[in-house]
């Protein structure tokens, strides 16, 4: 679905005369492959190049070197630009700054309008996508009066209405409260399971990563770790080195391990931890 080969991107700072004065390599030789229908999470501390990578998938940024294919389309191919953007939708961090319409349903219709979808079909899609994110009853509301989580779900519906095969979410929950965060993540998971939408989720919250099929960890523009959440989170030391958190249960298990409790690696959820501890207790 998405394949990157030696993907490299430099931000250039230009002075008044248009001469490049400094360069910042934000993405550095990234190779990665995301299969259709996968739920992939990308981790990395601030400035590690996650957003820059994400913007490549939507062809908002074009690689300085290397290539990125979306569904077999090279993002450098200008003729396919709109196909790529339709195919790989993007949800951003700030819910206020990505809603264009003054009424929820008008905003969801914005994408299909741009694609030149016929009017009746737009209405069908709007209804369908609002239903999918559980916001159908707010269709006539003004986005200004919605909560952050609701706004993000509207933004997701706006992308869904374009019938993409893949959604890239760049820290969609960073500005939300825990409740809004859960509702957004649940919506994304549902779309992934029920509609087989490929999901690429960028986040700082480890709890959101647990359910992913695969995790990529970025540092300084490079993908430094990849694997299942279990594989990633069993390397607590390495993650700490990369200035990343681990889920709370993992951390507790890790500390217990260090103190001599024979717990297995890669415990992710509280339930798992409790189960392992009980097993341990019955053995003793």
């Amino acid at each position: 679905m998405i394949r990157a080969e030696k993907l490299t991107f430099d931000y250039e700072k230009l002075d008044e005369t248009g001469q490049a004065v400094s360069m910042k390599r934000a993405v550095d030789g990234v190779d990665l492959e995301v299969r259709s229908g996968e739920f992939v999470a990308i981790l990395g501390h601030n400035g590690s190049g996650k957003s820059t990578l994400a913007k490549h998938i939507n062809a908002i940024l074009l690689p300085t070197e290397g290539t990125l294919w979306v569904d077999g389309m090279d993002t450098k191919d200008e003729n396919r630009l709109w196909d790529i953007r339709q195919d790989a939708g993007m949800v951003f961090q700030n819910p206020d700054n990505q809603i264009i319409g003054t009424v929820v349903e008008e905003d969801v219709g914005f994408g299909p309008e741009n694609l030149g979808v016929p009017t009746d079909e737009i209405w069908r899609r709007v209804e369908e996508s609002l239903q999918a994110v559980g916001m159908l009853k707010y269709r006539k509301h003004s986005p200004n009066r919605l909560s952050g989580g609701q706004k993000q779900r509207v933004a997701i519906a706006g992308v869904m209405a374009m019938h993409p095969r893949c959604i890239v979410l760049d820290e969609p929950t960073a500005m939300l409260d825990p409740h809004g965060r859960r509702s957004v993540i649940r919506t994304v998971q549902k779309l992934n399971k029920e509609e087989q939408i490929t999901v690429i989720l960028i986040t700082h919250y480890m709890e959101e990563v647990i359910e992913a099929d695969r995790v990529f960890v970025m540092d300084d523009g490079k993908v430094v770790m990849q694997g299942t959440p279990k594989e990633i989170f069993s390397q607590v030391d390495r993650l700490k080195e990369l200035r990343l958190d681990v889920p709370q249960a993992t951390l507790v298990a890790y500390e217990l391990q260090k103190r001599g409790f024979p717990l297995p690696d890669g415990i992710l959820s509280n339930e798992e931890l409790v189960e392992e501890l009980c097993r341990l207790k019955s053995k003793m």
Binding site: G89, F92, N94, D96, Q98, E113, N114, V117, N144
Partner: protein
Amino acid sequence: MIRDITLGQYYPAKSILHELDPRVKLAATMIFVISLFVARSPVGYGLATIFLVLVIRMSKVPFRFMTKGLKSIIMLLMITVAFNLFLVDGNTLWRLGFLRITDKGVQTAVMVGIRLIYLILGSSVMTLTTTPNDLTDGLEKAMEPLKKFYIPLGPLKKFRIPVHDMAMIMSIALRFIPILLEETDKIMKAQMARGADFESGNLIQKAKAMVPLLAPLFLSAFRRAMDLALAMEARCYRGGEGRTKMKPLKYESRDRTAYGVILGYFLIVTAIERGVQIYGWIVALPGRWMAVYQWILSFL
């Protein structure tokens, strides 16, 4: 205080006015405004008043929402009325130092005041019953013929009036007005908490107090604009070409009726004003004939 601005505010309700095509409402507002300038006699103004009251009743928008719009122009209103009251020449009714009020002054001041109030009320009815998007859609559609005209700038370049872009700019502006107002409020409160004072002092002091407000506001507005542009691009926005409409504008029979009503109103106002004029002319006729008669006599 900042929240009092009702510009572009929509009041959701179920009324015939809410359902009318925005083009009809735009045209009707324009015709109503023109009619305010055609009307000069009390009869004309009476008619405008009746029309306005009926329309407001029909809109099902509470009257206090209409008057909210008036609050923001109260200064302008007072200044305009004062200018007319004191500066129009005529027979002096009252005098204090260099100030004097004349009969003509009172007459024009009242007329201008009413005109201004009705103008605001009339356009409030339009904005309160039309969603900003409908409004810009209406404008875009109404300006569509303009798209055909262009100014050639060299062999391949043509300058066309960017009708779609203008409409898009307006609808985005309208969407962000409440957000930016809220932000202003927030920044003001944050600065007030640190001892900033926006309320006291004269006008210049107040204006000066606003400066530290503007920098963060502009900064955040620019950030928002960048983010929004990115989000629009990511959703395949590429200008008006090849774009379809979720809510295409189409005239219904009620729209045609509404056109009829507003034109009828305009014709009646014009006719009445003409009538008043003709009546006045006829009344003055004997005097005129006298004058002509005397003029002829003077030759003899």
